[in-house]
Symmetry: C2
Subunit: 579 residues, 2 copies
């Protein structure tokens, strides 16, 4: 008996297999997956845990007619392997032919570009409702992890879906983990359901109107196929609760679930990273300073919404912080409003958050925090073109988002020293909310003392005629551009604005008799700080050019290409200033 | 036995009362409340339903030491009456001395400015956590309605709160209504709990780790006091489920719960509005056109997230629309992603949404809709300074928010004809997402045919030297300013931009030799369309002035004052252009 994965071009190629072949297929898929994950990195644990569930899904359901929506879709690798993209998992030269998430540009089997959690059930209700309006008969399946289920949007949809009184199948992939551990009592309840083999009379899903099916052996194909067959074509809402093991089959991933949620390339045997990261990093700098702050003052609290390690609080540092570190799970809205409550109650809350996820709490930032003008700090990671480059995880938009909300000071340090001074000041003062944007790119230091009046732009190099106002990592770029310009006889003024949510009118007034002001920012130009500068100077005679990114969604770009395409290299900037 | 409400200055004044006096107090409060509501308007049903619960809360708990957080806080009128603000409910001259929501600027008994739903439990967890860090002993109470509980953020917090293992008391005010009817199976579950007098073995709150207490007579003081005393000072999470009647005591409000959720002044006996609104309105225009569209094509769907009447779909029109109208309840995130699913499934979804609530679904608009570039329509109501003027319901921010998201066309019609042409085109075409911003202020018409290439600015009056680019209601203002300017010998060009998310470069190029371009928009200047224009023209010699609102939160402003403060009257604009 043998399976050649190269012959798997579509789910049709597995429909005729008997169970023994399917078991073998799963083993082969897992082996190939491991080899790619070790060499390439990626979402290790989530994908290894759903090999069997994905095979069973495509064996029982008839995609693309039946519609499967993966939540987050970071666990869709096996789905890709079964739907015409196996080469991207077998041939190292083709590893990057597929994205890390579902992608309609790649395949009709992928319905949505997804990357944030908790959206699958809502998307599925839309598909189901559309089906019912046009008179279709297909199954609609939402495949969602236990961690994603705790996100408010998933709970909204979980509540609404049964009201369609129509076919919708929610598969709850319960691997008992979030990226880190789960938070909230929903998870005690899932434990209760697992421990009772799904028979507990108290059942939140039944309470919400679902037919409930429990699969104890969620990595066993036979059980999964049986359950999926049972629920296929039902005319009401069904929830299939499958108990799976994250990282299944790879010892290091089974035993270190948090580290192997997502990793860079690693040694399959030892789990050790192939290129250990030893350089200075802001997550480390941030968490160390917060530990100091928390140690010195019991009222200081650090918060995260489901991504503690991304902000420097891995397991060990969470332990050191004790009750002064709070992770609410993947629940950004709850977390931001909890910050508001903490501040009102006299604590000193600091939330570490990844830029792309901050936008999930826009309303809370605006209302609970900003309207109430509550002293609090938000430290934003990966808000940068030097950050993540998946289309669903871009950090280009937070400047525009945050700086259009009144009362919030949006600060952009350029160096470690500036960052720490901003962080310290935001914790020690009671002025209102502060958002600090960690600079992307290479970690920079400064020798000069930090001027802590952060409402003032800082003149870094004094020149004339041309001014470069460059925030965050682009301060270095601006200095390089200035060096080139000086060679050609132009001595520009270089300014580090530090605050992006308002302009320093006094400083800008001194530029009104300049020839040219160029703003440079690490985000889209639309709604950015440059446009505030251009507007302020709009009635004066000085020319203003706003550099930054075009307003567009990009996928897996090369940084150097992106810089060039947007006139952001030192050479381009120097040239711009010299016409 | 007599109660003089004027003598109620703080909760201390009711602590010594016996039960008979408390009953009498409640009656007096309800009477005074009705008189104000009839003469002044406001949230009728929600407040009449919680008279007894509020009295019991302040009788049992010790605010402001004990901390009570009201969800939405539209039901906090009786709380205000009991906490030093009774005059604002007794003396018609002082009716407007208090806001319609909790307001820390008014009283230390009010903890947060709130106005959006589903935030109370999160805020309470923050207060509770802060208390535990500083070693306090007070009770923390979240008072939340059944409708608000369906919002994702509330569910996130409901899940998280018990993990504090500390005092937190959630009072679920179950009046069996949202603004309109509730949606989602959570509500069948609440019915099950009520019908079993709280004894059903299936209990979502117990499943989530709460001690659960049920009060069948939620408008009976004795029962409420007993229950609140029972849960006071508990050291873990408790949920008290109280069964109340929305509109209690006022026949018209009891029988017409949706109409009397919030109303303008009305006759207490008949329920008839004192000043019936008969003028043309966009909610009516929108819903009529949608009914036509839905009748003509089964694939057209109208959606709302809990505010159907605000977008023209009162009970009668919802019936006419049948299954082609969907209200998901107060769950904006779910609704926007459901729009994405509907579009992907081949339907033609149109969501009607109030501007201030759209910001609750920023991430879904960006990811589910915009990244996927799915044809869909969002019609935004009250996105205007002529709209709602409570600090928590401002419509100033949606231009900045929406126009910094790639792929979305943000359109701003100035007339009914333009609006309908935009709506029709967005439904008939398959170009991607469109957000249409209903113009605020007086409903305007146009005789000229509508140019349906909405990516192009439209020159309304051709002049020279000075251009006024004015969107939405400010097109009328610009025409008035132009008339004044013409009297003084300047003949400006007046332009209706119609699209706010991108500039019409071709049109702007023709203005580069002008002396002055003035943009005027109905929202904050920061991140608005004017700043895009200023940036585009930044390298040219033309002066640009961006008019619009300052970035700030305002409360219950007078429109005429606000216009003047921001240079937005025709006279001010005319003057600006003439220096």
């Amino acid at each position: 008996m043998e399976i050649n994965l190269k012959n798997i071009h579509s789910p049709a190629d597995i429909k005729g297999m008997d169970l023994d072949h399917l078991y073998l297929l799963s083993e082969e898929l897992r082996g190939a997956l491991m080899r790619k994950l070790g060499a390439h990195g990626g979402h290790v644990g989530p994908n290894l845990g759903v090999v069997e569930a994905t095979v069973a899904l495509h064996y029982v359901f008839d995609a693309p007619k039946d519609k499967i929506v993966y939540d987050v879709s970071h666990q869709s690798y096996v789905h890709k392997m079964l739907t015409g993209r196996i080469e991207a998992f077998l041939d190292p030269a083709k590893y990057d032919d597929v994205t890390g998430y579902t992608c309609p540009r790649e395949s009709e089997y992928d319905l949505f570009e997804v990357g944030h959690t908790s959206t699958s059930i809502s998307l599925a209700t839309g598909l189901a409702k559309a089906r019912d309006l046009v008179g279709g008969k297909e199954n609609v399946v939402a495949f969602i992890g236990d961690a994603s289920l705790g996100g408010g949007m998933a709970l909204e949809a979980l509540n609404y879906a049964p009201e369609l009184h129509s076919n919708i199948i929610v598969i709850l992939n319960d691997n008992q983990m979030s990226i880190a551990e789960n938070h909230g009592e929903l998870y005690s309840h899932l434990t209760e359901l697992r421990n009772s083999n799904g028979t507990s009379p108290n059942n939140i899903f039944k309470a919400l109107g679902y037919e409930y099916v429990y699969v104890e052996e969620g990595n066993d194909l036979r059980e999964l196929i049986k359950a999926f067959r049972e629920v296929k074509d039902k005319n009401h809402a069904v929830l299939v609760h499958i108990n799976t093991m994250k990282g299944m089959g790879l010892p290091c991933a089974e035993s270190h679930k948090e580290e192997f949620h997502f990793t860079a390339p690693f040694d399959l045997k030892t789990g050790a990273p192939l290129s250990p990261y030893t350089a200075e990093s802001y997550d480390d700098i941030f968490s160390l300073r917060m530990l100091e702050k928390m140690h010195a003052d019991k009222k200081v609290v650090t918060l995260s919404a489901g991504t503690p390690a991304a902000v420097g609080f891995g397991e060990e540092r969470r332990k050191l912080a004790g009750s002064q570190f709070t992770d609410v799970g993947i629940a950004e809205q709850d977390c931001v409003a909890m910050v508001a409550g903490l501040s009102k109650g006299g604590a000193r809350p600091v939330m570490g958050v990844v830029a792309t996820f901050l936008q999930r709490a826009y309303d809370q930032l605006s209302h609970d925090i900003a309207i109430n003008n509550l002293p609090s700090t938000f430290v934003v990671f990966y808000g940068s073109l030097f950050g993540m480059n998946d289309m669903t995880h871009l950090g280009f938009f937070d400047i525009a988002m945050v700086s259009s909300i009144p009362n919030i000071k949006l600060l952009a340090p350029a160096t470690v020293e500036e960052f720490l001074a901003m962080l310290d000041k935001s914790i020690d003062n009671s002025d209102g909310p502060v958002v600090i944007r960690i600079p992307g790119g290479k970690v920079c230091h400064q020798d000069a003392p930090v001027n802590t009046d952060f409402t003032k732009y800082e003149i870094v190099e004094k020149g004339e005629e041309v001014a470069l106002i460059a925030e965050g990592p682009f301060l270095t770029t601006a200095k390089q551009a200035a060096a080139i310009m000086r060679e050609k006889g132009v001595i520009p003024t270089v300014i580090n604005p530090r605050i992006l949510s308002e302009v320093d009118a006094e400083c800008l007034d001194t530029l009104k008799n300049y020839r040219h002001v160029i703003t440079i920012e690490d985000g889209i130009v639309d709604g950015g700080f440059g446009q505030k500068v251009a507007t302020y100077l709009g009635e004066s005679d000085v020319k203003v050019t706003c550099l930054g990114l075009k307003k567009e969604f990009l996928d897996r770009f090369k940084v150097s290409d992106l810089l060039k395409a947007n006139n952001l290299t030192p050479e381009q900037i120097a040239k711009l200033a010299q016409y």
